[in-house]
Symmetry: C2
Amino acid sequence: MSTMRTHYCGLVTEELLGQSVSLCGWVHRRRDHGGVIFIDLRDREGLVQIVCHPDNADVFKASEAVRNEYCLRITGVVTNRLEGTVNSNLKSGKIEITATNVEVLNASVAVPFQLDDDNLSETTRLTHRVLDLRRPQMQNNLRLRYKVTMEVRKYLDALGFIDIETPMLTKSTPEGARDYLVPSRVNAGKFFALPQSPQLFKQLLMVANFDRYYQITKCFRDEDLRADRQPEFTQIDCETSFLTEQEIRDLFEDMIRVVFKNTLDIDLPNPFPVMDYYQAMGLYGSDKPDMRVKMEFTDLTEVMKDVDFKVFAGVANSVGGRVVGLRVPQGGNMPRSEIDAYTQFVGIYGAKGLAYIKVNEAAKGRDGLQSPIVKNLHDEALAKIIAQTGAQDGDLIFFGADKAKVVNDAIGALRVKIGHSDFGKKAGLFDDVWKPLWVIDFPMFEHDEESGRWNATHHPFTAPKDGHEDMLETDPGACISKAYDMVLNGWELGGGSIRIHREEVQSKVFRALKIDAEEAQLKFGFLLDALQYGAPPHGGLAFGLDRIVTMMTGSDSIRDVIAFPKTQRAQCLLTNAPSEVDEKQLKELHIRLRNAEPKVA
Amino acid sequence: MSTMRTHYCGLVTEELLGQSVSLCGWVHRRRDHGGVIFIDLRDREGLVQIVCHPDNADVFKASEAVRNEYCLRITGVVTNRLEGTVNSNLKSGKIEITATNVEVLNASVAVPFQLDDDNLSETTRLTHRVLDLRRPQMQNNLRLRYKVTMEVRKYLDALGFIDIETPMLTKSTPEGARDYLVPSRVNAGKFFALPQSPQLFKQLLMVANFDRYYQITKCFRDEDLRADRQPEFTQIDCETSFLTEQEIRDLFEDMIRVVFKNTLDIDLPNPFPVMDYYQAMGLYGSDKPDMRVKMEFTDLTEVMKDVDFKVFAGVANSVGGRVVGLRVPQGGNMPRSEIDAYTQFVGIYGAKGLAYIKVNEAAKGRDGLQSPIVKNLHDEALAKIIAQTGAQDGDLIFFGADKAKVVNDAIGALRVKIGHSDFGKKAGLFDDVWKPLWVIDFPMFEHDEESGRWNATHHPFTAPKDGHEDMLETDPGACISKAYDMVLNGWELGGGSIRIHREEVQSKVFRALKIDAEEAQLKFGFLLDALQYGAPPHGGLAFGLDRIVTMMTGSDSIRDVIAFPKTQRAQCLLTNAPSEVDEKQLKELHIRLRNAEPKVA
């Protein structure tokens, strides 16, 4: 394949027996065994065993001097391994290379850790990222990431989508997440923002007749970081004109199916199930339910309205209150300690307690049930609980009663936790397969208790369902949108919507969000303008590439599928970014540090 | 192809005669002709003619109401055009659509200019970019841009290159160009920089055993903008390990050949000519010579050393001076006014004048030459000038004499200007074809007169030629590097080098650049560290995508191949970025504006 090497180490097999090959790679391991030196040489395709015999003095001398992670060029003859030394874990495991020349391309100082050490701290790994990236797992992760993007590109290319780059230096519109700002040198006192997404630009491209757009691009959000977030992340961003919501969903559902099939040979269901938002919240307390968990909520708000138990009745009779039961099949034998742990767990989500009923013998009615709360529930309520949850003897029912959000969050998380627990797996409550679904028909707006205002559930450019335009200002809470999320195993893979393509509807939505005409013009004037020039019906979707690859590789963190990620304090441990800069640079940008400002009396 | 439409407008041909089709697009033109309304409907694939007959009352009424740039959905039957009305400029020119339904998907306000107006100011175009992008030329430019990137991806994919994303939020290393800075909120007083190129990250990826990397990615330089520059620009960035310089050049030369062939069906020469830096500077005064221009410099420094003409002799005898002749075949009849204009032109590059000789009859010696300077040149010098330039009767010879840089810049630019002039084209001095070449063997360092220091000609990570390592500190000016540029028609398409892969060589280069050990560790410690862990021999290249596509589309400006470019004042006229931001945002970022600082007495 080149002057320096004829083959990749990991791909040399018995087909090359007797041939001379030249290989380049790193010393993975070096052993002296009965006076013969063995080197496992590693390149991106894997390992091959090199044998350096003492009867070749030059080779032997050179091989004696090498250490782990030296970069070598080896020439040698492909030879059968001795019987009993075949390594069936390696593609090259039947052969070895009898070295005729060993050239040290570059030496290595002693490495700070062994590459096959699986117990490295993340700080160590990120500080020595270059060595960390040599590990086969990281090599595989980034290669899979690449394959995913190429499959996406091929799929979209065949359908006439074209990749168009949108600006990285753009306008700050402080909505939702915090912007990363870039001070302008030429325009004193002004700032660019790094894009949170190419949303508006892709809509402009639709208005500009590009018809089918995509881009795999970096987006930026200056948020407090969680395990699965990075300051910069990569979106597969797509938009099309003249397709219906159903057609858009079908197209991208198929794309994800093709990606999984062509990279990991995984068959995702066809079609994906579809569920509307209210159904998802009703049954799972989540708009991204993990469908692998085979438990559902039973809504008991009605049932609890007239019970003596104040905790339930009070909530059931209050506006925005919700009472649910979560039936845990075969949960009746759950030890008290485990129930206590779950009680503590739901507390994280704001639940003030976790009531339960053990169903010993349903046929016995009240006497067959075991729980501190049974005495406060009348017979009819108990019968309905059993009937509506479908509880069987030996089951356990957990209860959540609070504001709907608290119940959904707490019992939704509990459902997932039990499903993923050892108990859940043993009890058959967890189906270990890929379970995608679409969640659709989101509400247009969410009410913000604090400000008393309505916020856009997705973003303010999402179209309302046909016929809901008239309620935008009169009854925002009742408006359903044409938004859709693709969910896989409890994670949102991507989401999108049909967009508003009429200026008057867009202006109505801004008014519903209490963005007045002046502010709308200042921030989104270019969009409102564009919509007036015959904007086409359009919609699209954006997928989170980091998340998708994290799931596909089974990684613990999205940092394992990003070559040079930031820590949770938004730092790069390798380069020490961010760092201090020269006063001269700040001066040119017309800014100064706040802590460096002159004191005034 | 979807519920809304069955075909693209521009692709409906006589093959569909008699069939009913549904089309979506924009009203390009609408004419009332003999009581029948004709609409040219436009989508991304082109135009088709829609006919709305008065006998279909609904259709006619709807079509009467439409105006330019309305977005329509038309259903109709594909019909033969009447004889004499066939439009051979259109793919759909033999047919028209007899409308059976006209649906207005969205109306348009009156457009501020006609889309086929070719005389729009750039300000108008960038302010109304969405409409500007609807123009066929812009549609074609961005589609060609996409095709180029897909061809690049396919070519590199087949060779085992993988696309790996490198960070956008990275470390500021104020070398060369100015960084765009991004203040950190979490790390008060610290800043990220947007990457000027992924140079160091791609080298780290080589050390990390990724072997063959590419990325088509945004880079940022906060420089004063020229016509062909943008604050953010796109690089095709590539790097490989274990290949020789020749192998790398061959690989990427072939890539560019494939791209030109597969997108525009252009056959570039195979192989590209190769010229070393000193030869290019000697013959053309440029390291990116436009090889279409069929004129070369003749170096006359030696010849002029003993002439009476002080301007020439003084320069010829001074250190760093250069005297050249530029023979202009058939230039003898050039009117005085044109020569004066060229004299002014070279002044832009610092030349203090432009001496010339008209060769009327070379055989007559001094008497056959016409020029104010002839009297100050002795016979032998005149004979050598004629002989060495190869001047023929009727030719003109221009002279440059100054510091080498001034001569190279001025006479180099003059060479190109004459070559591209009407005269040059008529005189056969311009070969209107694609003329790529490689310029190689650049000097490692350039001497900076002002600071008295040596600067890296490419960048400090470029490897010296084998054997030149020892001169890095002792004789920097004599060191040649393994750098190479790909040049096409006077523009640098891309450039790269074999990189330094040994820590001790890298440290030597830093010392030659007067970067001391402490500073080197602070700025590039992570690179020096990485090089110590068995860094492989590696090298690569980066192409300027914007430039390549500008050339391929024959555009005047790179702004014509970027969807949403910035002006030369680094502004986006569409969104009004950069813009002022809230004080709250600045506070969170621990910065304040300089002009807003509290006054101190």
